[in-house]
């Protein structure tokens, strides 16, 4: 049992190293990557099944008892997130087999992808704040490498903007963690929770706020999201989908752990502030998207807007709110990555990411239009897709608590999201292509792209039509969150 949790971290790390050693042989590297991700996926499935069947798995590194050794904890939430991470890794690799917005061959590309998967997995499974900081830094290093492996001017610029804001975020986290350590003498989640229960809850508040602020930077919350739209669109589409699916959600997950699991007794003003930050995140994200015509930029701003809903669930400070956040994270990762994959296919067919230069796909590629409709409508929150249940959980809890303004903002943002999705629909699918002589490519290898997007759309449909399992999982995950030993 404890081997599973370690294997989930070791497999992507080992694959990253081995893939780096195979840098001169691209075919072998690609094959090894599939083996690595396949193993990772299988282990993640086994981990989730074990955790759901039995109980939370805890491993303490170095053989020391819990407050001294570094703990790795796989509770339902962490195990579920690891499985989604593995799924995203698999989807990205399969998508790269096709030639929709292909990433230029580079020996460092695949090792960095695996390193990122390892870092994301590590940050989900760790039970120790300093260890979380180290994984966040590893995630930063891997994503910087992926942003900068093409050295055009716009790529370097994006790298620098991404670096400065994210580095400030992790440094803030480090300082906050150090203060928490100085105040309590602990770094493990369980020991910190125990220390926080003794004595005045406001004593630790400044340090908790510091760390929470750092995680807010990582999740792209208002007003600290500038790094995201400045950098994401310079990535090739398969990597973009991986970034969009996973990175910001690590920030949300960490925030959920911090405020929902470790320090549930944090003074109310922190949650109140977070609620309004969440509302602003939703609004500014969706308004930022309205200006743009590039599909990637539109979708990047929508990441921010959706992060707002997840933060709102945390800020409501109730079991139902946290349940909504968990459901929202699961739904959002699948939907968002899928939208970016579809965007790559649109680009491949029409030759441009700019909606004013594309069009005509509804007549020529109706299957792609159908695949796009599923995640797009799910993002808006149209029943019976997964986004509807996610929004329902969060908005219902907002109404239960009588927070009418927040609920109204959440619903208005839903309408504005519809505006953006309609813009993509009209621009890329409905209207005719501006070039009358245009015909979609027929010589491209898009089979893997279709497989991935259709499979992810199927996941969205399944969650939407049969939400009981996912709701049960979200409830279980949110409930276990509070039980940090």
């Amino acid at each position: 049992m404890s081997a599973l949790i370690v294997a989930c971290m070791l497999i992507p790390l080992a694959t990253a190293l081995a893939a780096a050693l195979l840098g001169t042989r691209p075919a072998a590297q690609r094959g090894l990557s599939f083996v690595g991700v396949g193993l990772f996926f299988a282990t993640a499935v086994a981990l989730l099944v074990t955790v759901l069947r039995h109980d939370v798995i805890r491993v303490t590194m170095g053989g020391w008892p819990a407050p001294f050794g570094i703990e790795l904890v796989a509770d339902p939430l962490a195990a579920g997130m690891v499985l989604i991470t593995a799924t995203m890794g698999l989807a990205t690799l399969v998508f790269q087999l096709g030639d929709a917005d292909p990433s230029p061959e580079a020996p460092t590309l695949l090792p960095l992808v695996h390193a990122m998967l390892a870092a994301v997995t590590g940050s989900f499974l760790t039970g120790d704040l300093f260890n979380l900081y180290v994984w966040l830094e590893l995630m930063l290093v891997a994503s910087l490498g992926l942003l900068a492996y093409r050295t055009g001017r716009d790529h370097l610029e994006a790298t620098l903007k991404y670096f400065v804001l994210n580095a400030l975020g992790t440094l803030l986290a480090l300082a906050g963690i150090a203060y928490l350590h100085a105040a309590t003498g602990h770094l493990g989640f369980g020991a910190l929770a125990a220390a926080a229960r003794e004595g005045d809850p406001t004593r630790l508040a400044p340090f908790i706020v510091m760390v929470a602020l750092a995680f807010a930077v990582k999740s792209g919350a208002f007003p600290l999201f500038a790094w995201l739209p400045a950098s994401y669109h310079t990535l090739p589409a398969p990597l973009l989908a991986l970034f969009a699916g996973l990175l910001t959600k690590v920030g949300v997950y960490a925030l959920l752990r911090l405020l929902g699991g470790i320090f549930p007794a944090t003074p109310g003003f922190v949650f109140e502030a977070l609620a309004w930050v969440a509302a602003a995140t939703m609004l500014f994200g969706v308004l930022g998207a309205a200006y743009h015509w590039d599909v990637r930029r539109i979708l990047a701003f929508h990441i921010i807007s959706q992060i707002g809903y997840m933060l709102l669930g945390i800020a409501l400070d109730s079991a139902a709110g946290r349940e909504g956040t968990v459901f929202y994270i699961v739904h959002h990762i699948v939907v968002k990555a899928n939208l970016f994959f579809v965007a790559a296919l649109i680009f491949r067919y029409t030759g441009s990411y700019d909606l004013r230069r594309s069009g005509g796909l509804f007549a020529t590629r109706p299957a792609l239009a159908a695949i796009f409709a599923v995640p797009a409508l799910s993002l808006v929150g149209i029943p019976p897709l997964s986004g509807f249940w996610a929004k329902l959980l969060v908005v219902r809890e907002t109404l239960v608590q009588g927070r009418w303004v927040l609920a109204a903002i959440a619903l208005v943002v839903g309408f504005l999201t519809f505006y953006s999705m309609a813009k993509i629909w009209i621009g890329a699918f409905w209207k005719n292509h501006p070039d009358p002589a245009w015909q979609p490519h027929t010589d491209s290898r898009l089979g893997p792209g279709y497989v991935v997007t259709a499979a992810l759309a199927l996941v969205t449909l399944t969650i939407g039509l049969a939400p009981e399992q996912c709701l049960k999982f979200a409830a279980l995950a949110a409930e276990n969150l509070g039980e940090v030993k």
Binding site: D101, F130, Y133, V134, E137, L140, V141, L144, A148, T151, G152, R153, D154, L156, E157, A158, T159, L160, K161, F163, V164, A167, L168, L171, L172, L174, A175, I177, A178, Y179, H181, A182, G185, A230, S231, H233, T234, P236, Y291, H292, W293, D294, R297, F347, G351, S352, Y353, D354, R356, R357
Partner: protein, 134 residues
């Protein structure tokens, strides 16, 4: 000792914030690395180094460390220093490459990652800027 550390951390943080707000890229990056140094000093001071220079050894017959700074933060800070140093090196290389390509060290010149507004106020149509990606 602790006051000296506190004043030192405050000064380094102030310098780091000041520099990282600069428009000049090199200053900005140096500012971030100064902030990293400040964060490292905070980690270091979380071990209560005011306890004095006694080695962190538990005396015979006792279960706990007495009158000595905790050694754990010193181990933690080593990790943070290594990561911070590598990121500083990386960012310096990026700044150097940007300066060489754009012949400018001013972040107001960094406009390539954003679309420029066109004559109608909407984002300008990029003139085949996607060519390198096909």
């Amino acid at each position: 000792m602790i006051w000296l550390l506190a004043i030192g951390i405050g000064t380094v943080t102030a310098a780091g914030v000041f520099l990282s707000l600069s428009r000049e890229l090199l200053r900005c990056v140096v500012g971030v690395s100064l902030l990293a140094a400040a964060a490292n000093l905070i980690v270091f001071s979380s071990g209560h180094p005011e306890a004095g220079p006694k080695p962190p050894v538990v005396p015979v017959g006792l279960e706990q460390l007495v009158d000595a700074a905790a050694p754990l933060p010193q181990a933690l800070v080593l990790t943070a220093i290594v990561i911070g140093f590598s990121l500083t090196c990386f960012s310096l290389v990026v700044v150097l490459a940007i300066a060489q390509q754009s012949k400018s060290n001013d972040n107001r010149a960094l406009r390539d990652a954003e679309p420029r507004p066109g004559p109608d106020g909407k984002p300008a149509l990029e003139s085949l800027a996607t060519e390198d990606q096909i």
